[in-house]
């Protein structure tokens, strides 16, 4: 399967067309095709994973004490098109990173498909929904298996289009179509960076898009550092846009306007993870470009700062959200901040491992939130108004949501604990203590806001819709994915925990391994103090939040915003999302759009209308000139003259046209005699 990996993205892509073409005529309105396609991809991905793990570690890199045994990536490519002497190639590049993501994407997408059959039941655009899901999955699978950066761009943009379609699935409401537009345009802002970065690196690497060559050249010092820095900054723009990092994170919470399974897919396995994947796939470029963990390059790097800021601000925003999906959305932003920060401090394995575990528990949380709204709160997502006390009515949803929340908070021995610990230990190891602290603060806040979320949803007294309607457990198509994901939320971390180091070794890439050897801990140095501290931080977050909400303890802090002007103002800042949306919409967009519109109006009125009017007047004058001179005099003159000449010539010539044969013969012989004489005089002798 490693040699035929192109099948994995190709199957859902084909299914997209089949669903569009025949979906409506099938008994399941197309979902069977989608499930079959993604299921086949998932099975093939699992086969690929088994083959990858079974692949012998026969590639030896380095010498002496630095020797590393790694699996060789499987690369197959063929020429896509030629421009002059430049061969643009397309193909698959399968290594541990690809395999891990293929499995995650396939699994989450499959579960989302199954879940959607119940959640989207009787939707007005059911068939199109499944078609878009298939294409979305195909886009992500293309991205993670691509051997050329140009091919990655295709998968990347396919996802952009699909996210637009799916977030705006219920476009009849203006709010939803606005959210879809916002998601599309905000990520496009970053995508400009992708295009620029691609161009820079294409030419810097001798006109190739091959990602392995890019990494090898960047790490081998074959490309100048300044060029790499420029390329890395441009690509960072794409990462920031797609992975919703500060300051372009604002689209992600709004993307909650889409159906909940789509949110799960976008947040767990595709779309936002694409940015982190791009970062880790082209890590050689970023690593050298941003001088990550290079000796003597200070205590921070650009990606680490962006990621660190994102962790904190997104976690703070999660506290003031009443919409359960928005809490989860800001949580995703915050966790993506973790991954970007991890990559920024050299924790390559840690970042991918966190991506891997996060996919399971975040998908579980989103699907759980969907289950709550589907069966518990009558399609409302407002925790304060329409939820509360649901744990008795929805035991499976509650249990899985709780497990996933604990995993997200980083409680031993669930998945999130191991991956988060991995990142923090590596950050400390590489001398980025500041970011270790930021990570710990983020962990504390994560634990606290997830406790708030769980408490508001499942504890306390039922409110609003949860009290008026009859909450009940969701059908099996919804709970089965939840149970599977909850199980994985517990166990996924053990691949690189409890002293096992499978994940790190499986994902090691032969191109990167030697450069990362110094900074990236393939085998996390599990230390009890670090584990105890992070556990204590997470535990205290849960405890404090629990005391605050359940016990109404911490008296001085209760309803602080209602009593203290400063606190109220701070809360307002959070509720207004740091005024970033206002900045973008009112200042930047209005500031750019207003003058541009005025300028365009002036240009329209003065220049274009002037040109048009001038052209009209000029054309009219030219028409008169043409009529008077050319048409009347030249053309008519020529035609009349031709007639006149012919008539006069005819009158003259008819004189010699006597009709007498002998006169013609006389002319003939006379002419012949003259030619004869001429011949004798001029040519003869």
């Amino acid at each position: 399967m490693l040699d035929h990996a192109w099948l994995i993205p190709a199957i859902p892509a084909v299914m997209f067309w089949l669903i569009l073409g025949f979906g409506k005529r099938l008994p399941g309105k197309g979902h069977e095709l989608g499930i079959a396609g993604v299921g086949a991809s998932f099975v093939l991905s699992c086969v690929a994973a088994v083959q990858w793990i079974g692949r012998s570690t026969d590639v030896t890199i380095g010498e002496g004490a630095h020797v590393e045994h790694v699996r060789k990536a499987v690369e197959h490519s063929t020429t896509w098109f030629d421009i002059g002497n430049v061969h643009i190639r397309v193909g698959t590049y399968i290594d541990g990173l690809s395999v891990a993501l293929l499995v995650v994407v396939g699994l989450i997408s499959l579960l989302v498909h199954v879940y959607s059959t119940a959640y989207m039941h009787d939707d007005r655009r059911y068939t199109h929904y499944f078609a878009a899901l298939s294409l979305f999955t195909a886009g992500m699978l293309t991205l993670v298996s691509a051997s050329s950066a140009l091919q990655m761009l295709f998968g990347w943009e396919a996802m952009g289009v699909c996210s637009f379609m799916l977030i705006g699935h219920w476009w009849e409401e203006k709010e939803n179509s606005n959210a879809a537009l916002k998601a599309f345009l905000t990520t496009r802002t970053g995508d400009v960076g992708f295009l620029i970065g691609l161009s820079i690196l294409f030419f810097a690497n001798g006109q190739t898009f091959d990602v392995r060559v890019w990494n090898a050249n960047a790490l081998g010092g074959h490309v100048s550092h300044l060029v790499l820095l420029m390329g890395a900054i441009a690509l960072m723009g794409a990462v920031v846009g797609k992975s919703a990092q500060f300051p372009l994170h604002t689209w992600l919470p709004d993307a909650m306007a889409g159906p909940t399974p789509v949110s799960a897919l976008i947040h767990a396995a595709t779309m936002v993870v694409a940015g982190v994947f791009l970062f880790s796939r082209l890590y050689g470029v970023f690593f050298t470009g941003f001088s990550i963990a290079a000796p003597g390059h200070g205590t921070f790097t650009v990606p680490a700062v962006i990621g660190g800021i994102t962790i904190i601000i997104a976690a703070l925003l999660a506290f003031v959200q009443d919409d359960i999906k928005k809490v989860l959305a800001y949580s995703t932003v915050s966790q993506l901040g973790y991954m970007v920060m991890a990559l920024g401090v050299g924790a390559w394995t840690g970042a991918i491992f966190h991506l891997f575990t996060h996919a399971f528990f975040k998908a579980c949380l989103f699907l759980g939130a969907g289950s709550v709204s589907h069966s518990g709160s009558h399609h409302s997502f407002d925790m304060k108004r329409d939820m509360g006390g649901l744990r008795k009515h929805m035991p499976i949803t509650f249990a899985t949501f709780g497990i996933a929340s604990l995993a997200l908070a980083g409680i031993f021995p669930l998945a999130g604990f191991w991956s988060k610990d991995d990142i923090l230990v590596t950050a400390g190891h590489n001398g980025y203590e500041l970011f270790m602290v930021v990570g710990l603060i983020g962990a504390f806040m994560t634990a606290a806001y997830m406790t708030r979320c769980v408490w508001l949803t499942f504890y306390g007294e039922p409110r609003g819709a949860a009290a008026e309607h009859h909450p009940h457990e969701s059908p099996a198509a919804i709970t089965a994915p939840l149970v599977i994901l909850a199980f994985l939320s517990i166990t996924a971390g053990w691949l690189n925990g409890f002293g096992f180091h499978y994940f790190g070794h499986w994902t090691t890439n032969e191109t990167l391994v030697h450069a990362l050897e110094r900074v990236n801990l393939v085998e996390p140095r599990f230390s009890f103090p670090a584990a105890i501290i992070s556990l204590a931080v997470a535990g205290s977050g849960i405890l404090l939040a629990w005391l605050y909400f359940e016990k109404r303890a911490l008296g001085p802090l209760q309803d602080l915003a209602a009593r203290n002007a400063l606190a109220a103002r701070l809360k307002l800042v959070l509720v207004r999302k740091y005024y970033l949306d206002d900045l973008y919409e009112k200042v930047i967009v209005a500031g750019i759009a207003g003058p541009i519109a005025r300028g365009a109006y002036w240009f329209n009125q003065t220049v274009i209308d002037g040109v048009v009017n001038g052209a009209g007047v000029g054309a009219k004058a030219a028409g008169h000139i043409v009529y008077d001179i050319i048409d009347q005099k030249v053309v008519d003159g020529a035609i009349n003259g031709a007639g006149f000449t012919a008539e006069e010539g005819g009158t003259l010539l008819r004189i010699i046209q006597t009709g007498r044969v002998q006169q013609y013969a006389a002319a003939l012989f006379g002419a012949a005699a003259l030619f004869g004489l001429a011949l004798v005089f001029f040519v003869g002798t």
Binding site: T658, G659, R660
Partner: protein, 99 residues
């Protein structure tokens, strides 16, 4: 053998023919004058052929005789029709094509 005698004879015949074509009013005589001119050419062809010692001139002369026979046939038919319509073969009166 001198070639010039034959050429002079042919030139004389041709000139008589030209005179006949241009000056005679009778259509039949004009046709006969054309025959004279063609035969003058035949004499030239045969004389040159004999002078050069080959038969090419005679071959051409035979072609000319064949074409002349056809030409006289068509010409006499036209003259005959003119005569039937006008009871005259005076070419000065035949100027239907005058412009």
């Amino acid at each position: 053998m001198y070639l010039v005698e034959y050429l002079l004879l042919a030139a004389a015949l041709f000139s008589i023919g030209v005179y006949g074509v241009l000056a005679r009013k009778n259509g039949v005589l004009v046709l006969m004058s054309i025959e004279l001119m063609l035969n003058a050419v035949n004499i030239n062809l045969i004389a040159f052929g004999a002078f050069r010692g080959n038969a090419i001139g005679q071959v051409f002369a035979l072609f000319v005789i064949a074409v002349a026979a056809a030409e006289v046939g068509v010409g006499m038919a036209i003259v005959l029709l003119i005569f039937r319509n006008r009871a005259s073969v005076n070419l000065d009166e035949v100027d239907l094509m005058r412009g």
